[in-house]
């Protein structure tokens, strides 16, 4: 048997129905800044998809507005675990993994990392916080980051539009 792919043949699992407003593909632009880095703009695509299981699959990729070269990427899963409790697990290609938890409030989600673990050679990120809001087909998010020697500070701010209703 060949398995179903993507959202096509599957109903959204009841456990993750509260995050149904995220499902789709979103594209837009953001700005990055950090005390240790020159400010930069980026293009970005986020996808939230599902296969009928109690989570949303999540993938992010961003690129330079100058020449389209790939910048960051990240990939993981969003879970609803009762009431408005949300859990997020993410792998980052710079050698980080993130566990973040928080709450859903309408179509706004505020999460704080409970664990950031890293490979031997990874950048020393110690905390992350995410604030993501959807209003119709508009999504805005902010990511704050702490690294060794720099407390939690705004790092990313982006505005995206829904470009597809499926991931």
């Amino acid at each position: 048997m060949t398995p179903g792919r993507g959202a096509g043949p599957h109903d959204l699992h009841a456990d993750v129905a509260a995050l149904g407003f995220l499902v789709g593909r979103w594209a837009g632009e953001g700005e990055g800044s950090y005390p240790t880095t020159a400010a930069f703009g980026y293009g970005e695509e986020l996808t939230f998809s599902h296969i009928g299981k109690p989570y949303l699959a999540y993938a992010q990729r961003s690129w330079s507005l100058d020449d389209g070269r790939p910048l960051h990427a990240e990939t993981g899963y969003w879970r609803c675990v009762g009431g408005e409790r949300i859990e997020l697990v993410v792998a980052h290609p710079n050698g980080l993994v993130e566990v973040s938890e928080g709450r859903l409030n309408g179509m706004a989600i505020e999460l704080s990392s409970t664990h950031v673990a890293r490979t031997t050679t990874a950048k020393e990120v110690t905390r992350l916080a995410r604030d993501l809001r959807v209003d119709g087909d508009h999504l805005t998010y902010r990511v704050d980051m702490a690294v060794v020697g720099v407390e939690l500070t705004q790092h990313l701010l982006a505005r995206l539009q829904r470009v597809s209703a499926t991931g």
Copy 2:
């Protein structure tokens, strides 16, 4: 500008060239077992892809051999960090994140987790070990897992074939 996608327009980054033998899509079957679970068979697809950055993007999905329903999934990144040192970061939809490190020996990779972190509601996995070997277009892997109360024990064993040379 629209960014390039997948391997198409990009050369494999020199830092990850030693893992070039993994790039592509692999499909096959495996068997799962664990002291706390009835043994089960599964169909599986692995993809290793790149966008010219110093890592391989990795995605796994498995399905029931009975009815094709989705079983596990995982997603993350493989990094080469000098000599034969390999780093792996993975997010699992059951609420786990994994950092594993180890060595490449020819086309065999042995990794042990250095960090397994989990959300509040996740299964209490404490350690993972992976052994992955490629011989031409054949890939075999074994995953050992420890959970609270069960030491590191064989959990998955699978044999796959390369079905595409790009991710």
